[in-house]
């Protein structure tokens, strides 16, 4: 563009000077024109050279920038965190930096990668402290072909909605819902091997053979997580999941898990093999989303039956509405019962309403009110902020 403007200006000058000297001798005119043509050619050459220098400079700048990036080009760092304030009737209000998480990943090649998640819970860990330092994921994944991949290591069990995706900006509510926490039990990771197969777009099948749960005498599922810390691995667990996402806005998924013995062969008690069934649906229509989930454990053995914990169930439904990119509101009704096998009224009923306010797409402020009924009688509110990067 600059080049064309200069040439046009030069040509104008040429015509103007021609008019002024129209009456001069032809030889003088030719001489002037020849000199001006030389100037034009010189200008054009210099512009070409400047263009080439500019492109070469930009190339070099970008190469240097890419070299700087390439030191860590195959290694990625991410993370998330959340601060919570809980204020419930008949209990002390508490503030807690609940989770501080760092991800480290490395791509060895296009088809072999490592991923890890390192977490500090409740700010401070150590003897007598509330917190824990946890390794929640550390696995190597290999793409076998375009439709199949496999992984070995420590990974999240493919079950439920929030077990694998639980960064704070991705869900409503300050605290994670009680059903997935107490029944599934999220966040839940084990060691083993797994595969993922995608036979067609939007259909995904997962299979995993992993270490199993090891429940205490109370047969509570959440307490059975060994967290792969010198975990007893006498009795394995096998997990299968099918997930359908081929219609935009829709997710349908179901997981079945078989635990060969959730006591890990404990002496003096009956073998307690167990089956988890979980199914959920998510549907988003424009700015409206609804999530619904059902989960159920069936545990064999006299000891679990005697406690009423041979059956543990829960479900919830959560409609939400996003007014825009900044503000969304939700309501949730949930029921869960870790003693569903007895005839007592032990179901916890939870009703929540709340709001998410996004300062940035990856930074969220949250507030919600929860009423607890059934076997619990309380109500209170939660405030929180969370981020991911």
């Amino acid at each position: 563009m600059i080049k064309k403007t200069l040439i046009a200006s030069a040509l104008l000058g040429l015509f103007a000077s021609n008019a002024v000297i129209a009456n001069e001798e032809p030889d003088a005119l030719r001489k002037i024109i020849a000199e001006q043509q030389k100037v034009l050619k010189s200008l054009e050459k210099r512009l070409d050279e400047t263009d080439q220098r500019l492109i070469a400079t930009a190339d070099q700048v970008e190469v240097v920038a890419e070299k700087k990036e390439s030191v860590f080009a195959n290694t990625s760092i991410g993370g998330y965190g959340e601060l919570h304030y809980n204020n419930y009737k008949d209990s002390d209000a508490k503030v807690d930096f609940h989770r501080f998480v760092l991800f480290f990943g490395h791509e060895f090649s296009d088809s072999v990668r490592f991923f890890s998640e390192f977490e500090l819970e409740h700010s401070i860990a150590g003897e007598g402290k509330s917190g824990e330092v946890e390794l929640e994921q550390a696995y190597v994944e290999v793409d076998i072909n375009e439709t199949t991949s496999s992984k070995v290591g420590l990974f999240l069990i493919p079950v439920g909605i929030i077990n694998e995706t639980h960064e704070p900006p991705t869900f409503y509510g300050v605290e994670r819902n009680g059903v997935e926490k107490n029944i599934i039990p999220a966040t839940w990771w084990e060691a083993g091997a797994a595969f993922n197969y995608k036979p067609t777009g939007g259909l995904s099948i997962d299979g995993a053979a992993t270490s199993g749960l090891s429940v205490g005498d109370d047969y509570k599922i959440r307490g059975g997580r060994q967290k792969v810390a010198k975990a007893t691995a006498e009795n394995l667990a096998y997990t299968g999941r099918i997930k359908y996402t081929a219609i935009t806005g829709l997710e349908l998924a179901a997981t079945v898990q078989y635990q060969t013995d959730i006591t890990q062969g404990k002496d003096g008690v009956e073998t307690a093999d167990a089956m988890l069934l979980e199914a959920h649906a998510i549907y988003q229509l424009n700015d409206f989303t609804v999530r619904a989930l059902y989960a159920r454990w069936d545990i064999n053995g006299d000891e679990a039956a005697a406690l009423g914990r041979d059956e543990q169930t829960g479900w919830y439904v959560e409609p939400s509405y996003a007014f825009n990119d900044k503000v969304g509101v939700f309501a949730r009704y949930a029921e869960y019962d870790n003693n569903a096998g007895d005839s007592d009224s032990t179901t916890v009923e939870s009703t929540s309403v709340g709001v998410n306010y996004y300062i940035h797409e990856n930074v969220v402020l949250k507030a919600d009110y929860e009423n607890l009924g059934g076997s619990k009688d309380s109500d209170g509110f939660n405030l929180g902020f969370g981020y991911q990067f």
Binding site: I55, A58, V61, E62, A65, S76, G78, G105, E107, S109, D110, S111, V112, R113, F115, V140, E141, V142, D143, I144, N145, E146, T148, S149, S150, V152, E164, T165, T170, G192, A193, F195, K198, G201, G202, A209, S211, A233, E234, L236, K243, T245, A246, I247, T248, G249, L250, E251, I282, Q284, L285, N286, H360, E361
Partner: protein
Amino acid sequence: MNKFLHITFLSMLLFFSGANCAAKGVYQTPKAFVNKAFAGEAPEVKVLWLTKEDKTDIAEILQHKYNRMRIRYWQLSDETVWILDEIGKEKPITTGIHIKEKKIKHFKVLTFRESRGDEVRHNFYSQQFLNASLNKNNQLNQHVDGITGATMSVRATTKVARLALWLDAKVNP
């Protein structure tokens, strides 16, 4: 315990049997996308140099700084083609966007490098961008439904669709 070792051993075999496979996730080369957009007669590549103000506007669309000095594109009359990279969760997703008369005519994920969220490469998702244009706020004029579990990939591809339309308006006012 023996069972556990056995399974681990088998899965390791499965691992290394697949370790030399071809790269996953290259669905079309940029060259093929450009050639298809211009029916085999692709024009010479052009370069758009970005001003400071341009980078500010681009950062507003991408929600992060943009450090490139220039963007290459192809143009023939009122049609432009852009090949853009944007990170989903960890790795850049390469997308080809063909724009005609200020509307998206063709939208395709060319290379997907993330380990999750690859649903965005399928037609059932990408066809939502067809005929989309920009409104005054640099947002798409039509709703794009998300994919659960692929939120970051959906966000990245929606951003590049907006960016391509913004760039098109820049070179084709």
